[in-house]
């Protein structure tokens, strides 16, 4: 598919000219809101930056709805757990938007231990003409007041303010890896390595534990939960993926504690591919329901799989993201790249899926035509508003002109987080500390 680039670079790094990113600027999550009007990113420094799409104007038809910074706020601060002598990172692990119910926007953001509900609201008027205090806020001397007046709302420059409305803390012993809002818009769940808790958005001092896979003896631990999500249409159903490559679907109507799954999705391992690292590469890093709720998609290290909820024995479709890395697993283990957690996303109509790779490449797979494309998010290799050129990685043998060989891939440039607009063909791709937004070409 043809795309044009509309690049936004977020880099608050002091050393702008240098080609490395401050670690705090590394983007750790990207999420569109349900209408696609807003795009939120979280970074390792605990900040959230929200972009808003411009209204399309007739004057500049080619600049269709670009995204501009709408609000920036510090969501989480680094903390210290004195009891365990552990530092709690402020990195934002996930952001999830709530559906809009009034003029304000609400989102949930989480770090390793604490989930916060933020309200983002606009203020474009302010009251003037108070009786007891003057414009600067100083208290007026009552004896000088001779007449009463009614304060009037005067227009002011638009100000966007973010306020934390709820803080959900102290419910997780292990690191939170996902949050998911239920279809009922009243509850959400937060997931750590061994437990899933259900919260009511209004109540912060208690949560219900709905899944607990912690063994009585930690020594018997064999798998952890890696991601979880509510069904998009059924508020009683959710899925969670494990480090062993399996997905469990649970129904909260069956029991309060959903340790027993309703469905169990697992593909038997191919014995011919067995290696030291088989367990690592089969660990699922992300799981997503399709918008229809009929399918679910999982991402493990080398593949993306689409599953039909009605078929537990094997996936419906398997797509190889970067199979050329299979022979390099040992080196990837050494440099820790094998532990990278790639995410995957559906497009609005569930016909295309997208996921990231290394060297700032990201891949899209069309489920209907079975075509796939590799694109690169890089400023050096493509100009703004230019159409992205498909890239190709050559696997041994002769390297053609535009191809890149496996050995020259840059493994420090990885695209872990991507997002797709809920209805249009606009994607947001986070490449380390840069955010790229691509749109479909308009003819």
């Amino acid at each position: 598919m043809d795309e044009e680039i509309d690049t936004r670079k977020i880099n608050n790094s002091f050393l702008r000219d240098h080609n490395y990113a401050t670690e705090a600027d590394i983007i750790s999550t990207v999420e569109f809101n349900p209408t696609g009007e807003l795009l939120a990113t979280g970074d390792k420094g605990g900040r959230v930056v929200v972009f808003q799409r411009e209204q399309e104007s007739k004057n500049q038809p080619h600049r269709r709805g670009e995204y501009n910074v709408y609000s920036t706020f510090q969501s989480h601060e680094p903390e210290f757990d004195y009891l365990k002598s552990l530092e709690i990172e402020e990195k934002i692990n996930k952001i999830r938007w709530l559906p809009q119910q009034n003029a304000a926007y609400f989102l949930l953001s989480t770090n390793d231990k604490t989930v916060k509900l933020w309200k983002i609201s606009e203020r474009d008027k302010r009251p003037e003409g108070y009786n007891l205090k003057d414009e600067d806020g100083r208290i007026r001397d009552p004896t000088t007041i001779t007449a009463l007046r009614v304060p009037v709302l005067q227009p002011m420059d638009l100000m966007v303010e973010a306020t934390p409305r709820r803080v959900f803390s102290n419910a997780h012993t292990y690191h939170i890896n996902s949050i998911s809002v239920s279809n009922d818009y009243e509850t959400y769940m937060s997931t750590d390595d061994l437990r899933i808790n259900l919260w009511n958005l209004e109540i912060t001092n208690q949560s219900f534990n709905i899944v607990d896979i912690k063994p009585a003896n930690m020594e018997e631990l064999t798998e952890v939960i890696t991601a979880a999500e509510f069904h998009p249409n059924q508020c009683n159903t959710f899925i969670y993926s494990s480090s062993k490559g399996s997905i469990r679907l649970c129904d909260m109507r069956a029991s309060a504690l959903c340790d027993n799954h309703s469905k169990f999705f697992e593909e038997p391992e191919d014995p011919s591919n067995r290696s030291f690292f088989s367990e690592i590469i089969s660990s699922i890093s992300d799981v997503k329901f399709s918008h229809s709720g009929r399918y679910l998609m999982t991402r493990d290290y080398l593949t993306v799989k689409v599953w039909d909820l009605n078929m537990e024995s094997k996936p419906l479709e398997t797509y190889q993201v970067h199979d050329y890395l299979r022979s390099k697993l040992c080196s990837l283990y050494e440099n820790d790249c094998i532990f990278d957690k790639f995410e995957c996303v559906w497009n609005g109509s569930d016909s295309v899926i997208m996921t990231g790779s290394y060297n700032n490449f990201f891949r899209m797979f069309d489920r209907n035509t079975k075509r796939d494309v590799t694109l690169e998010a890089s400023r050096e290799n493509s100009k703004p508003r230019a159409i992205l050129k498909p890239r190709k990685v050559c696997v041994g043998g002769k390297r053609r002109k535009d191809e890149i060989s496996v050995d020259s891939l840059d493994f420090s440039k990885k695209i872990l987080h991507t997002a797709w607009h809920p209805s249009e063909n606009i994607i947001a791709v986070a490449a380390t500390n840069n955010l790229y937004i691509f749109q479909d070409k308009v003819n």
């Binding site: 530092e87 012993t173 292990y174 690191h175 003896n217 930690m218 631990l221 030291f276 690292f277």
Partner: protein
């Protein structure tokens, strides 16, 4: 054989990762450490299964190694391979293992503390010992603040020496990415003493090296005599972990015997043994272990 080298390398890398995870910001990541421990276990399985293939050949060269190697006076005594020394060493090894375990279990998700604990313990063990042999080994391991690589290397060599049950003659140097000669020798320690009582004995003696000579009366490896060297039970842990010359190794092997199973089960299983044991080494180990036991067990419970 290249599998062995590869496995060995992977094991050392895995240990390094586990060590580093302890000092990482944000606390220990359960998921990553679980995966690393699984890799470590797979690598160890391959390493050991490979070993059994070469055990016959190794016997000969083991002897040669023996003679040419540096041995402590303690070890010399043990060479005749008396059964008493064997049983003693079993005990001590048990004790040593126990000693390690409580410390290791602190943060239960993974044996992140293993290395530091091991090195720390070595220090204490070493201090009390007049180790005549292999003092070089002590050096890298003495300071807990030793660089991670140093520590890992020593741990790795320990592991290699332990893991390599039978002397691998074909590549006596392979296990030797070790800082000291003594460690190299250690690699020859025989696990399967049932097959080659004498040769392994010599090795194990030698292996004793410096660190914990008290512990290492004769680290008779109760080698897993089983042909299937698949570590998945505590029994196997015992067999594996009889290596005593460095408590590091034994604890590590115990711990990684079956993913996380090694952490607590051995401790409980062998504690009675160690307490019954009355040898000096046992005593010292006991004391140390008991000292450490309480805070750790509470920590585990808390976690």
């Amino acid at each position: 054989m290249e599998f062995k080298v590869e496995a060995h390398r992977i094991m050392s890398i895995s240990l390094g990762k586990i060590y580093n995870s302890r000092v990482q910001r944000g606390g220990i990541k359960l998921h990553k450490n679980l995966l690393v421990s699984l890799v470590l276990r797979s690598a160890r399985q391959v390493y050991l299964s490979d070993y059994y293939g070469g055990i016959c050949l190794s016997a000969q060269q083991a002897r040669e190694w023996c003679e040419g190697e540096y041995m402590t006076s303690d070890q010399d005594k043990l060479i005749p391979g008396s059964t008493e020394s064997l049983s003693e060493s079993d005990e001590t090894s048990d004790v040593a293992v126990d000693k390690q375990e409580p410390r290791d279990v602190v943060e239960s998700p993974a044996a992140q503390h293993v290395e530091t604990q091991a090195s720390g313990e070595q220090d204490s063990a070493e201090n009390g010992l007049s180790v005549s042999g292999c003092s070089d080994i002590n050096t890298p391991e003495e300071s807990p603040e030793a660089t991670p690589t140093c520590e890992v290397a020593s741990v790795v060599t320990a592991i290699s020496s332990n893991c390599i049950s039978a002397p691998s003659p074909s590549d006596p140097n392979e296990a030797t990415e070790t800082p000291t000669d003594c460690q190299t020798d250690n690699s020859e320690s025989a696990e399967n003493h049932s097959d080659e009582p004498k040769a392994p004995q010599a090795y194990t003696n030698r292996k004793r090296t410096a660190e914990d000579s008290e512990l290492t009366d004769s680290p008779t490896k109760r080698t897993k005599v089983t042909s299937t060297s698949l570590p998945s039970t505590n029994d196997e842990n015992k067999g594996e972990t009889e290596e005593m010359d460095t408590s590091n190794v034994s604890s590590l092997i115990t711990i990684f015997g079956s993913s996380f199973s090694g952490l607590l089960s051995n401790k409980e299983g062998e504690q009675p043994d160690s307490e019954a044991e009355d040898s000096d080494s046992g005593q010292i180990c006991c004391d140390q272990m008991l000292k450490n036991l309480n805070p750790w067990s509470t920590a585990i419970v808390a976690f």
